[in-house]
């Protein structure tokens, strides 16, 4: 099994939804499992906002296990003994694909000169990668959260390119509340003096702002029940409150740890660009305001999964997609799974999710 990231430069400039094009475009990606001779067993795995291509192999910066190691691997629900899994880093990110930290044609980092991109632009880059790899039709495209948006976008815009679409804990459009939380994160980054209009490469990066952005976002990934079960009102390494602003509570300490850990592996400008792409995502708007029209030409089978404790992309959002797929006559499965953890459930140990993923990909 290959575990080293590969990088491919797309042969052509990438046209962008916002106008203009991006060139050159480098895509960092990882593959697991062998591609069949007829190329029919490929699965495109799309990562979430702060995810990357290190799905089932250790992260090179943090050394932590891959983010979906429990789902992807030999004998796992996405079985790399049978499937050839390709996971590209999205454009705009900072793990090897072209993003704001990359060198622009003038030799300087793009920083805020990087074009604002969309989810569809990310998928267009994935399609460029698949073309370059000679993979015509995928067995499946799979993703959770922002990865699910990419999966739906691929099905809508390149319907001939996949046989199965598995979209977990996701939505067809960002709600006002989703946008609001992202704006909070962006403003935290931009309010950090070190952000310096995005021009901080080679100097001090805006870690304080990025950490606050991550802390706010992290709250949205967990259910209230999960936070209460994990931390309650417990104090951190102390018997009594300090009557100060130290991290008295365990939950404060945890969030601070999450925030600062995140700055070790993520670029603040990438966070701005990717959250913007998610906020702009509205699959119906791209298709004349009618979501069902997004799926008129698809012959793929769909499976949507939501979690009952996910308040970031609640079940109603998945149902909304399912209704559109029904109206378009597409074969669709949908299940709301019970899980206490909130949005992040898709990354955690939910045996029912394993069964659904395995069954859907095999069916």
């Amino acid at each position: 099994m290959s575990i080293s990231t590969q990088t491919l430069t797309l042969p052509d400039p990438l046209p962008l939804d916002g106008g203009g094009e991006l060139a050159p475009v480098e895509i960092a990606y990882q593959t697991y499992g062998e591609l069949d001779r007829d190329g029919s067993n490929a699965i495109l795995l799309c990562h979430a906002l702060t995810g990357d291509q290190h799905v089932a192999s250790p992260h090179p910066v943090t050394g932590k296990p891959g983010w979906w190691e429990r789902m992807v691997g030999p004998g796992r629900p996405i079985d790399t003994d049978r499937f050839h899994v390709i996971c590209p880093n999205v454009i705009g990110s900072c793990m090897g694909s072209t993003g704001p930290a990359s060198e622009s044609p003038d030799g300087e980092p793009y920083a805020m000169r990087f074009p604002v991109i969309t989810i569809r632009d990310m998928v267009r880059a994935h399609i460029g990668l698949l073309d370059a790899l000679g993979i015509g039709r995928l067995h499946a495209v799979v993703g959770g959260s922002m990865g699910g948006m990419q999966a739906l976008s691929l099905a809508a815009n390149w319907p001939e390119r996949t046989g199965h679409v598995l979209a977990i804990a996701t939505t067809s459009r960002h709600s006002a509340q989703n946008i609001a939380f992202h704006e909070l994160g962006r403003q935290a980054i931009m309010a950090d003096p070190r952000w310096n209009q995005g021009d901080y490469y080679g100097g001090h990066s805006p870690d304080s702002g990025l950490a606050v952005a991550r802390m706010a976002a992290h709250i949205t990934y967990l259910s209230e029940e999960a936070l209460t079960a994990k931390f309650g009102r417990n104090l951190q390494d102390r018997e009594v409150k300090t009557f100060g602003f130290d991290a008295d509570f365990q939950v404060e300490s945890y969030l601070r740890y999450q925030g600062s850990g995140f700055t070790q592996r993520f670029d603040a400008n990438s966070y701005l660009y990717i959250t913007r792409a998610m906020d702009y995502f509205d699959l119906a708007e791209e298709h004349g305001g009618v979501l069902a029209n997004a799926f008129r030409d698809t012959s793929a089978r769909f499976c949507l999964v939501s979690f009952d404790s996910d308040w970031l992309y609640p079940t109603g959002e998945s149902r909304h997609v399912v209704h559109a797929l029904n109206a378009a006559g597409a074969p669709v499965s949908f299940v709301e799974l019970g899980a206490p953890h909130g949005h992040d459930s898709f990354l955690l140990d939910i045996p029912a999710l394993d069964r659904v993923v395995r069954g859907f990909l095999d069916g």
Partner: protein, 196 residues
Amino acid sequence: MAELRSDLAVIADHVEPGSRVLDIGCGDGALMGALRRQGCDVRGIEIDGDCVERCVSQGLSVVQGDADRDLADYPDRAFDYAILSQTLQTAARPDRMLDQLLRVGGRAIVSFPNFAHWRTRAELMFGGRMPVTNALPVSWYATDNIHHVTVRDFRDLAREKQARIEREWFFSAGRSIGRRGANLRAEFAVFELSQR
């Protein structure tokens, strides 16, 4: 392969192979599996999440949802058959559900426990209590059956909806019986309807 319940077996036997079928209240997918083996393009709706998970893990296309609400999403004539087995009597408005079945499917196949079966009548008449029988095994306070219906009621409803009864089957003690005296003798009934 577990044997299909008798009403499901007769349904599976009479759906044209290769048809597009919507199975409403598909449970664990037993009928869907049989229809898929006949080359049908079959979809399901099921309210119970565990059942849906079992269906999806068999590769069946099943949406977790509430038929009372979600049937309205499907376009007209999206299917050749809309099948509602043992669910009509649980609907908030069985008449409106029948409208939806006839709208989304060219044919509607409906099965239900017959409340006018002699054993039910006897329990009510001589016991003076809501019947608990093989066909209606759950007590009045726990049953999902909120709109009990008889063979005669159903025929009336079909007439009111101007639906044509294409075929009908009746069952008692797991076996098919003739239509003579069905309203008294049948524990279960299956009707195939078409829109006139």
